[in-house]
Structure formats: C-alpha cells, structure tokens
C-alpha cells in the first residue's frame, strides 16, 4: 500500500502543510484504506515546503510546494493512478537508480548521519524509530560493552562537540567517567539560541529518539542515572515531541530502572528555558536548571568535576548526542572516514538569508564555503552578488566571498576570525550592509549580556552606541580605533564565551569590509542602501499603479501624484519613516 507522508515540522506548518495534510485526510475519509497517511519531520528542503512524499516499498517520491490544489493532482494521478506528477517532483529516490528530481543537484553531495531519520520516520512513533534500527546501539552499549569501551569508540570516531567549541566528545566523557561520585548527570543542551540556526530544532522535531538514545549511551559510559534536556521555550513543537518520545521510551523500558534487563538505571527530564541566550553557556545553563538566574561562573572547576548541583556532569548539545547511536552501530572507523584529519564526520548546517535554497544540509566536514552556498544552497536569491556568510551567530563573524574557498572545519574557520559555531550560516548579498549587521549583533549581545562582567555589560553598550552613530551618518574617524580598543578589552576581561566573542562580528566586518565603514563615516553613504538615515526613499514608476495609498498615509505629505499615474516622493520633505513601504501593495517603494 502507498504511504503519503506530509512534512509537519514548524517550517512545514508555517508554510501551510496543515492544509495539505487536511486535504489528504479528506481523501482518506472518502476512500478508507486506499492509502496510509503519516506525518514526518523536516527533510531539510525548507525552501520547498510544504513537502509531501509518496512512498511505496523502497521507492520514494518527494513533491515540493504542495498546496491543497496540487495535493488533488497528486492524489488523483499518483496515489490512485500510479502516474508520477513530474512537474512537482523535488526528489526521486528509487532503488538502483540515481537520485532524481529538481532538487537532486542540491541533495546529492550530502551525507546524512545526524539527519538520517529526519523526514523518513514519524517522530511521534517509537515503532518507526525501532523499524530503522533505533535503540540497537543502546542494546549493544548496555549489554555488550563496558563503559571504557564505549568511550574508546567515541574517542576513535574523532567526534567533536557540535555546539561550537569543538571539544573532543570522547575525551569529555572520560573526564566525567573518571570522577568518583554516586550522583552524576547527563545534560543535553537544546537551548539553540544563535539567531539563524535551526539544526537542533529540526533534529528534535524530526528524530527525538536519536538524541535520547545518545544520552542513555553517554549515561552508561560515565555512570550517570539522571539526565536533563534543557530546551528553549521558543520551540513548543520540539518540546511536545520530546515529551511524547520520552513517555514512549519509558513505557518500552528504554528509560527507567533496569533498562533492557542490564541492571542499569537512567531517566531524563525536560527543563524548559525561559528566554536567555547566555543559558547556552554550560555553567549558566546549570544555574538555570537549578532555578536561578542563568549567570556563568568561573571555570575550573569544570562541569566534569562540579557541574549541575555541584556534581560531575557531562554536557553536550543535541547534534552531538544524535551522532552517538550511529557511531556505536556503525563503528568509529565508518564515522572517521568522513571529514578532515582533525575534524571528523559530518556537520549539519542551517543555510538561511539570501541563499536561493535555504534549509538544512548535512555535509562531510571540510567542504568549502563556496560549495555549500552554490552547490547545496543553489546560489544567491534573485541572482544577486554573493558578499559574505555569517557563521557562529553573535559570537561569530562574517567571512567575505573572497575567502569562499575556506573549508568548513574546526581549524580553518577560526583562522578567518569567525567561529564554527553550532552551524548557522546566514548568507548575505550586496544589499546587506555590513556595518548595520555588526550593529545588529552588538545590539543582540548587549541585550543578552547577563551583566556580571563590567566589560561585557558596559563595553558592548559603548560599542553599540558608536555603531549606531555610524549607521546614522554621525560617525567620526576616531570611532574605528575606539571600536578596536573596546573589542580587545571586552575579549580580555569577560568570564564566559558570550562576552569574549561579542566583539567578533564587529572586528571581522572591520577587517574584511573597511571600505563600508569608511563610506558611512567619511562620505555619509551606505553602499548597500540599507541604513535608513543615509538613503532616499523612491517610487519605482514601473511598479506604481497610482493607487494613492502611500500619499494618503504619508505623515509629512511628501508624496504627490495623480490618481492612476506614478507617484513621486519629495526627498526634501521626506522624514524617512518608511510608512509608504509598509502600505504599498505593489512593492513599488524602495530605498536608494
């Protein structure tokens, strides 16, 4: 029987997949038993949502952009008639055949380890997870392996922490394992706070059991009996699916006491974050689980020695744990075969921003940035010019297009001044102003600074003030030196990663795009036509239909023109409030 699988992650739902699902439900109600209807997590092609897969045996046809109308066609042609609707096929996976469909060029260079089950199985069904070999790694680890054997496999695989710092995972586990304590904790950091990153959300929504399985294997390795998943409250669906997965795992004996008859006890609780970026820092995260203000503390003692509630704790992020079951099942060598010498395995990247095909991509470590942007991401939207990628969120930096050959791994990316980060990759084109980008990130870190260290609390504010002034055309030549000096001081004098890396976005943009800073300061001009104070608002006479709505809404009466003919803005009167852009139905008003 054919299976119809609708992608129902947050990204799919916001693109309208509920309506598509409902349409298929109607078909099913009309002819019960004619096909099986399922939902699945995100397959990664967010730009083609809503996605619908028609699966029969091993043949999988994924349709993209499925509106309820296209759903009608797919049902009549494919589900009932066995005729594939070629014009909507995004991916075609058939046994013994090469990957086909319009999106194949973007997909074929990917290697799916972390995302192995995302989009393949129903994340709310433990049966389906077991059907693809789920909890086999746990069985092996609990029944056939000693803790030091598990740690050895993880060490040999070369897996490094996927949260950003890239600390070798096996080594980290061995520290916690070496501690003599009858109470230890396993913590999963699911507080994915970097704006522009959504890998962890997709894994939690698409394959929550793989994370739980990874955590149990870790618990066995270090000798912990209690675990916490600290998930941000902005991800309601991830929390819901995790809750379902934990209940199911507990019911089937994968969690609780005497797991699989091995005599080993372990359970996991979900802790919801309450909206504080700094809680992604591990010592702050522990404070938050303990119910306090999430403020980082001095290390050492490191968490392996004194972590949550002063007990030995191992903390990894979602993606790291999701790798573990695959490594245990397939062996360290299979994992280490991917990637570069020092950065083994694969990494999931969240491609977003001005890239044509935004979504998730899992690739072997060491792929050049250009390949990610052009081969996997399909290049820049509207064929504009590639300017930079921003990696590592507010702690990272902007890597210019001229360094597009840089391989993405834990050695090469930091050499550019950016950081690997958790995998967010925001692509920028020639319409993105780098000074404004730096101001944006500083505004973010300034807001999120917990306030403990003076340089982070006040230094970032001073930097923000300077950058705001520059974007408003009131920059002074000496501002650049002041920014560099403050940046160095903040880096030196902050306790945690948030403060130490806060100046990165400013310093990297100053390093790679000095001409943009100069244009703002010296010429009072924004080359990307983005900073409102430095641009003029104009109306495109081609697009303007003369509907008069902009003129009616202009608070300073700067817009004039006859009904049904193109309008113009008097720049001497214009207050640059932007109201005209927000009311224009035809997108005719733009900044120049």
């Amino acid at each position: 029987m054919k299976k119809v699988i609708v992608g129902m992650s947050t990204c799919g739902l916001s693109a309208g997949s509920q309506k598509t699902f409902d349409r298929f439900s109607e078909f099913l109600a009309a002819s019960p038993g004619s096909f099986e209807l399922k939902s699945a997590g995100c397959i990664g092609m967010c730009y083609r949502e809503p996605l619908v897969e028609v699966r029969e045996g091993k043949s999988r046809i994924v349709y993209g952009g499925v509106t309820p109308e296209i759903a009608d066609t797919i049902f009549n042609e494919h589900v009932k008639g066995n005729r594939i609707v070629e014009e909507h096929v995004a991916l075609r996976m058939e046994p013994g055949q090469e990957l086909g469909g319009s999106e194949a060029p973007h997909q074929k260079n990917q290697v799916r380890i972390v995302l192995r089950n995302c989009g393949l199985i129903d994340p709310e069904s433990l049966d389906e997870y077991e059907g693809v070999g789920g909890y086999q790694a746990l069985r092996k680890a609990l029944l056939d392996m000693k803790p030091d054997e598990i740690i050895k496999v993880v060490k040999d695989s070369g897996l490094r922490g996927r949260g950003g710092a890239g600390f070798p995972t096996g080594l980290k586990w061995s520290f916690a394992a070496a501690q003599k304590s009858n109470v230890k904790y396993v913590v999963c950091n699911a507080d994915e706070g970097d704006p522009g990153a959504f890998m962890d959300r997709s894994v939690l929504e698409g394959d929550p059991h793989s994370v739980i399985e990874g955590m149990i294997v870790c618990a066995k390795a270090i000798g912990a009996h209690m675990g916490y998943i600290y998930c941000r409250a902005e991800y309601p669906m991830a929390i819901r699916r995790l809750t379902i997965a934990l209940d199911a795992a507990r019911e089937r004996g994968y969690l609780g006491s005497d797991i699989l008859g091995s005599g080993f006890d372990f359970d996991v609780k979900i802790k919801q974050g309450a909206g504080a970026f700094v809680c992604g820092e591990e010592t702050a995260l522990f404070q938050s689980i303990e119910g306090k203000r999430g403020m980082p503390r001095i290390r050492p003692p490191f968490p392996a020695e004194k972590g949550l509630w002063q007990k030995p704790t191992n903390n990894n992020n979602v993606e790291t744990y999701a790798n573990v079951p695959w490594i245990i099942t397939n062996g360290a060598a299979a994992y280490a075969a991917y990637g570069t010498e020092k950065s083994r395995g694969t990494k999931v990247f969240a491609l977003a921003g001005k890239v044509a095909c935004g979504g998730l991509a899992e690739v072997p470590m060491g792929m050049p940035i250009n390949d990610l942007v052009f081969k996997i991401g399909g290049g820049i939207k509207d064929n504009r010019k590639f300017k930079a990628v921003q990696m590592g969120g507010p702690s990272g930096g902007c890597i210019p297009a001229s360094l597009g050959h840089t391989p993405v791994d834990f050695e090469s990316i930091p050499a550019t001044g950016a950081i690997m980060g958790s995998g967010g990759m925001v692509v920028m084109d020639d319409q993105t102003c780098m000074v404004e980008m730096a101001r944006f990130f500083l505004d973010f870190t300034q807001n999120e600074s917990c306030g403990k260290c003076t340089f982070c609390r006040i230094g970032t504010l001073r930097m923000l003030e300077i950058l705001t002034r520059i974007t408003q055309g009131e920059g002074k030549p000496e501002d650049l030196d002041a920014l560099k000096k403050l940046g160095a001081q903040i880096h030196e004098s902050s306790l945690c990663g948030l403060g130490q890396t806060a100046p990165n976005p400013v310093l990297t943009t100053m390093k790679y795009f000095p001409e943009e800073y100069e244009a703002h300061i010296r010429d009072k001009r924004c080359p990307a036509a983005s900073c409102t104070a430095l641009v003029d608002f104009v109306i495109d006479p081609e697009k303007c239909t003369g509907c008069t709505i902009c003129a009616k809404n202009c608070p300073v009466e700067a817009i004039s023109g006859e009904r049904k003919s193109a309008h113009t803005i008097d720049t001497t009167k214009c207050a640059k409030c932007g109201k005209c852009i927000t009311v224009c139905t035809f997108g005719a008003v733009y900044k120049k």
Binding site: C46, Y235, A352, G358, G424, T582
Partner: protein, 175 residues
C-alpha cells in the same frame, strides 16, 4: 495550541504538589504565567511562601528571563522574529508594519486587550524568513501586505466570535 504535558498542569495543583525538590522555581513561574497570562504580584507571594525562596530572589529570576512578564498580555501574543536571517530579509519592515497595523509599539498591548507585540531573537524558521509567531502558530514568508492580512483575519474571527456570543446572550435573555 500546543502546550506540553508538564505545563498543562494547573498552577495551584503544581504549588500544592511542590515537594521541596530543587530547581522548581522556573517551572512554577512558567505555570503561573500560563495560568494568569502574566505573573501577578500575588503569584510571586504564593511561590515564595511555598518554596521558601525570598520574594526578592523570585523577582530577580523573573526579570532575568525574557519570557516572564509582569504586565498582563493580550489574548494573542505576536512574536515578530528579528533573528539574523529575518533581519537580512527586512524584518524591520515587518515590525514597522505590525506597529502601524496594531497602533502600538513593540512590547505594547492593544487597547482591546487582543494583541501584544514583542520581538524575538530567532524562532528557528530561518528559511521561511521573515517570520512571526502568533501564540504558537508560525507565519512565514511575510510581506507588509500579508502581515496586515493575517492581523485582519484574527480581528475578523474575533469580532465574529464576539457577536455570536452576544447573540446567544440575547437569545437567553429573550427566553
């Protein structure tokens, strides 16, 4: 609307069930916020009494996390995303449009108590940028026009509901 099982529990039940386990302060506050829509003065007192955490410390935790609010919120809480991906795709314009359509500024609530507007650093739907969340529903690929349409749709639905409620009240009264 998706609420997790843990948070579905009633606030007073959670308070009553509190057994002195450490680390329960934030879940209690979250449950209070779900129950009241914000954290009223009296909830701080209840929580402080039950947990033994001084009121000043409870207040300190509330003000540290951006999720907690000390003022009542609208029936629909709009979180306009201003994360990196949305920001480079003109999130500012979407926020301007929301402010204009609702007649309030960011962090304000409309007079009819229907909408509260806030911004959020990232909701993880970057490939559908710019996006916003209204309660737990996500709306993506926004333009100024589609934003106005969405808000008007919520208003229209709300008005229809209100007039239906008024009509049924009238019927009962007539009987």
């Amino acid at each position: 609307m998706i609420t997790t099982a843990a948070r579905n529990e009633d606030f007073s039940y959670r308070l009553w069930r509190y057994d002195g386990a450490p680390g329960e302060l934030i879940p209690l506050l979250q449950s209070a916020q779900d129950h009241f829509g914000y954290i009223p003065r009296r909830a701080i007192s209840y929580i402080s009494d039950v947990t033994g955490v001084p009121e000043s410390e409870v207040y300190g935790v509330i003000t540290f996390y951006s999720q907690f609010r000390l003022q009542p919120m609208g029936k629909y809480v709009i979180k306009a995303c201003d994360g990196t991906a949305c920001h480079v795709q003109n999130a500012r314009m979407i926020i301007d449009t929301l402010e204009d359509e609702l007649g309030i500024e960011v962090n304000g609530t409309t007079e009819d108590g229907l909408f509260t507007l806030s911004t959020v650093a990232c909701i993880g739907c970057c490939s559908l940028a710019p996006v916003m969340m209204i309660n737990d529903d996500t709306h993506g690929r926004l333009t100024p026009q589609s934003v106005r349409k969405v808000i008007r749709e919520y208003r229209r639905r709300e008005n229809a509901e209100r007039s239906r409620a008024a009509a049924s009240c009238g019927e009962t009264a007539a009987r």
